[in-house]
Amino acid sequence: MSVHALRKSASSSFVFVGIGLPIEASAPAYQSHGTEGSHLTNITNTKKAFPVLAVNYEHVRKPFEIALWILLALLMKLGFHLIPRLSAVVPESCLLIVVGLLVGGLIKVIGEEPPVLDSQLFFLCLLPPIILDAGYFLPIRPFTENVGTILVFAVIGTLWNAFFMGGLLYALCQIESVGLSGVDLLACLLFGSIVSAVDPVAVLAVFEEIHINELVHILVFGESLLNDAVTVVLYNLFEEFSKVGTVTVLDVFLGVVCFFVVSLGGVLVGAIYGFLAAFTSRFTSHTRVIEPLFVFLYSYMAYLSSEMFHLSGIMALIACGVVMRPYVEANISHKSYTTIKYFLKMWSSVSETLIFIFLGVSTVAGPHAWNWTFVITTVILCLVSRVLGVIGLTFIINKFRIVKLTKKDQFIVAYGGLRGAIAFSLGYLLSNSHQMRNLFLTAIITVIFFTVFVQGMTIRPLVELLAVKKKKESKPSINEEIHTEFLDHLLTGVEGVCGHYGHYHWKEKLNRFNKTYVKRWLIAGENFKEPELIAFYRKMELKQAIMMVESGQLPSVLPSTISMQNIQPRAIPRVSKKREEEIRRILRANLQNNKQKMRSRSYSRHTLFDADEEDNVSEVRLRKTKMEMERRMSHYLTVPANRESPRPGVRRVRFESDNQVFSADSFPTVHFEQPSPPSTPDAVSLEEEVPKRPSLRADIEGPRGNASDNHQGELDYQRLARCLSDPGPNKDKEDDDPFMSC
């Protein structure tokens, strides 16, 4: 949101107030003011005992208070989730606001001035992480499929809301009995524009918990993100004009132009920074540790740069995240990816918590001017205008959609239009010269409370009641990927036959352009040639292998390794050991060298991985994987291991080994068959992955079943377990892997 307006406002410093800890003023250890010095020379005459213990609160006050607030906020959040029934009924945002109210009340009782949600703090520190998190993990496919609908809701819907509310409130103010005849039209329109925008923070907080189907989720959420441009323009427009007092046609025209400049400019700024980030990530193969920082900093710079030019910061942030993601993820290591994900979720979670708590505190703190009619009318008008807007727009939109929006969808879209902290901060930014500022603030807070509490709490039972389609939890499926891509090609072809340049045609053109030109520049090494299908498959297999290890199924190998020294050569243990080596080598190779990503649909703030990723190991699959493994192992052990030179093309696309779906059951009982013909020697190119284990290779060439092999195997295994669980000191080899994403 427009920080530039802050220049007009008086408050531009952090308004944290201490809670009055007792302070013992003593000479601070490290400060050396001039006066202090002279003071010291005065008192050295009277020698005091050397201060063994001194308290100097002023020294650390600001960081201390900030840390304390954040800690308290997080402890509150922790507390909620420990009370199971409460968190199931009441959305977290409501609870946090209540906590904020309590804390604010407490502070007021003590006699201090409760801090208010400072707008600069909000727009510069608290909002960006949430938006970046949303933008980086934005589900692209549903978003682009519905972008037309989203834009219509965001732009036209917000305009409708603003003018409808502003106009009707002005009409209300004209009524003598209300006593607000001093409010002019522009002020009302300004108020309307502030309160009409759907808030992404509130929407995220509430929708995340109800797991609604993807279409409705992306509609409401996308709308909340894209309406920022409209809000910026309207707010600035009316703010400017309310000073002047008149609006001409030229101004309106300039306003429209401004809208395009703001939105497209924001997207452009974001895209530029996104490409810069992607390009930078191409060269980070030797400095893996700072990779996440590039992502965060470039995004933040995009936000700040666009705010500097009065463009839409939110759209810049979204554009940056969306543009940079495919390329960055092709270049960075797995650990960096995990870091980025965790940090974004963490920061956005903290921000959200703080925002809601501060909303509560500010409510207690802020100056209030209560006018029953105005406030109640505002709340009612919000609802009415939202409902009318959604219904009207859907009626028009459905004429152009393939999949129409049903009445249930419309209801949820309308009901999910929550207002939140952005509206409050914008209201707070209004300079005190507006005589209605306090009244507006009160009304905004009431609307926010109403939407968050009433709508937030009731949306979940309503979703259940209306039996709205929920999000289908689905594991990533190679079938879906293949068939979806297949259908893409099919539809593009049919569009070509019809001579119809539609959605698929342009998507295909963009893909082609991306593949030939853009990827070449932005993706390191040879990765840019890898088809998406292959990358997806590899990641899926890898993820399964990791899950097998993490769920403790592989360690069952270890005991048998130890006992193997005592076992006579029988087919079963020997095969187990072979398999174990194979598994170890494959896992190590894949983990060391390659691209892994957990493909999770990262909407939720609370869970980072999809909960239901269990392998359903069926008998058929079990047997098949056993067959595969046996086939492979017989190769590794018969083909000499000096085939190390990998072809560049094969190196990158090595999921030959990925197709190992292991399960605990397979180890003790083994039935092997040889169904398929032996694989080509190229399969053994794995050997190149093990340059630091010469002894192991020697083992392969030598006779099987020697004791040293077992011991080595054991060390191997432990090393692997360590690799997987805890990053050790010399993990350079491991980190040396770029990884890709779909």
Binding site: E145, F400, I402, V403, K404, K472, S474, S477, I478, N479, E480, I482, H483, T484, E485, F486, L487, H489, L490, L491, T492, G493, V494, E495, G496, V497, C498, G499, H500, G502, H503, Y504, H505, E508, K529, P531, L533, I534, Y537, E541, V620, R621, K624, E628, G649, V650, V653, R654, F655, E656, D658, N659, S679, T680, D682, A683
Partner: protein, 195 residues
């Protein structure tokens, strides 16, 4: 251009096509002009060469299969009726059709007919099963030449493993429907034909 009287579309033909495929009058005329523009031989039918001249199909990995889908079994020419019948699969499903009387024959653009169309593109030998080889062929067409057969084989195996429920190492039509149940086929397999 010569006399094209024999290839002009008659009203009753339009009506028949309308009934069979559900396209509107204007859509049929528009597609007919497209048909004639593709028909370089001007004999009222399209041959494979006519399709291959379309640039989008030339670069499409599935180009050949799509072309084949237009031609009925063993024939080399497709007339306008056949052309429309194939295209009818891609018409968006309308709400009023969903509630239609189930006794009437299923429209060409129903969800299962769309899926059947896609299924037939995989299943060239029409044995109602997508075998490993058929899947491999499609995968090879989609990913290009850089990937080795081995690797593609693994993907194919994995795909069949995921989908196969009756253990016949191939994907039947019902299994195909099942794996795609989460995909919004109505939207994915529909083209918004201009009115």
């Amino acid at each position: 251009m010569g006399s094209r009287a024999s290839t002009l579309l008659r009203e009753e033909e339009i009506e028949e096509i309308k009934k069979e495929t559900g396209f509107s009058h204007s859509q049929i005329t528009r597609l007919y002009s497209r048909f004639t523009s593709l028909d370089k031989g001007e004999n009222g039918t399209l041959s494979r060469e006519d399709f291959q001249r379309i640039p989008e199909l030339a670069i499409n990995p599935l180009g050949d299969r799509i072309i084949n889908a237009f031609f009925p079994e063993g024939e080399d020419q497709v007339n306008f009726r056949g052309f429309m019948r194939t295209l009818a699969h891609f018409r968006p499903i309308e709400d009023n059709e969903k509630n239609k009387d189930p006794i009437a024959s299923e429209p060409l653009n129903s969800r299962s007919n769309k899926l059947l169309f896609a299924f037939r593109l995989y299943d060239l030998d029409r044995d109602d099963k997508i075998s490993r080889d058929e899947l491999l062929q499609v995968l090879r067409m989609m990913v290009g030449v850089n990937i080795s057969d081995e690797q593609l084989g693994s993907i194919a195996d994995r795909t069949i493993q995921e989908a196969d429920q009756n253990g016949d190492n191939s994907i039947s039509f019902n299994e195909f429907i099942k794996v795609l149940e989460k995909v919004d086929v109505e939207q994915k397999m529909s083209i918004r034909f201009l009115h």
